[in-house]
């Protein structure tokens, strides 16, 4: 049983560009959350998707957007990249009424 898978594992982008990160949830999970983990910090909640809709959002600007597909996979899009967007982006999947979340290995984004 595959866990949460994210792609790509590493990415280098230039300031001002746009990036798309992808996440496939654990089998049977229908809720996907995205987190940003800056170097030396704990993960911070970006947003959560369930039934193809954004259900909750953290304190992130509109440059951060997402999407969930009918097969429950999800994308995180970041526009107009800033140097400060450099971080490890983690995807977590769960069932909406389950207490645990399972995390992927993350995508390391470097903005230069």
């Amino acid at each position: 049983d595959a866990g949460v898978t994210q792609s790509p594992t590493h990415l280098i982008k230039t300031r001002g560009q746009q990036v798309t990160l992808r996440c496939s949830p654990k089998s049977g999970h229908d809720t996907v959350s995205w987190y940003q983990q800056a170097l030396g910090q704990g993960p911070q909640f970006i947003f959560q998707y369930y039934e193809e809709e954004e259900r909750q959002r953290g304190n992130f600007p509109d440059r951060f957007s997402g999407h969930q597909f009918p097969n429950y996979s999800s994308e995180l899009n970041v526009n107009a990249l800033l140097l400060g967007d450099s971080a490890l982006y983690l995807c977590a999947s769960s069932l909406p009424r389950n207490t645990e979340a399972f995390f992927g290995q993350g995508t390391r984004l470097t903005v230069v």
Binding site: Q6, G40, G42, P43, Q56, P96, T99, F103, Q105
Partner: protein, 115 residues
């Protein structure tokens, strides 16, 4: 608002000795508390959780945590540390157990276990 504090950036312990990684929390309702571990270049792995019931929670890899409501703490413990336990540990709290939850993470504590 929910928040978690991990007062120690780093904890050093010798292999075979007991270890404690500290966590305190602040929540407006019932606390739902979690510990996750992160190895280099890896995502977060679930260790244990406190939802309700016994204050001593047992988890994966021999770890346990003690919930203390009066001190608003949820310290992670292990009786005998292994070198392989060396990693980054995160305490987290959830603001809602069942509906479109999100985690609030602490800043992390790096555990170094020396042979």
């Amino acid at each position: 608002a929910q928040s978690v504090a991990q007062p120690e950036d780093q904890v050093n312990v010798a292999e075979g000795n007991p270890l404690t990684v500290k966590c305190t929390y602040s929540v407006s309702g019932n606390p739902y508390l979690f510990w996750y571990v992160q190895y280099p270049n890896r995502g977060l792995q679930f260790l244990l959780k406190y939802i309700t019931g016994d204050n001593l929670v047992k988890g994966s890899y021999g770890f346990e945590a003690e919930f203390n409501k009066s001190q608003t703490s949820f310290h992670l413990k292990k009786p005998s540390a292994l070198v392989s336990d060396s990693a980054l540990y995160f305490c987290a709290v959830r603001d809602d157990l069942y509906n479109f939850n999100k985690f609030y993470f602490g800043s992390g504590t790096k555990l170094n276990v020396k042979p």
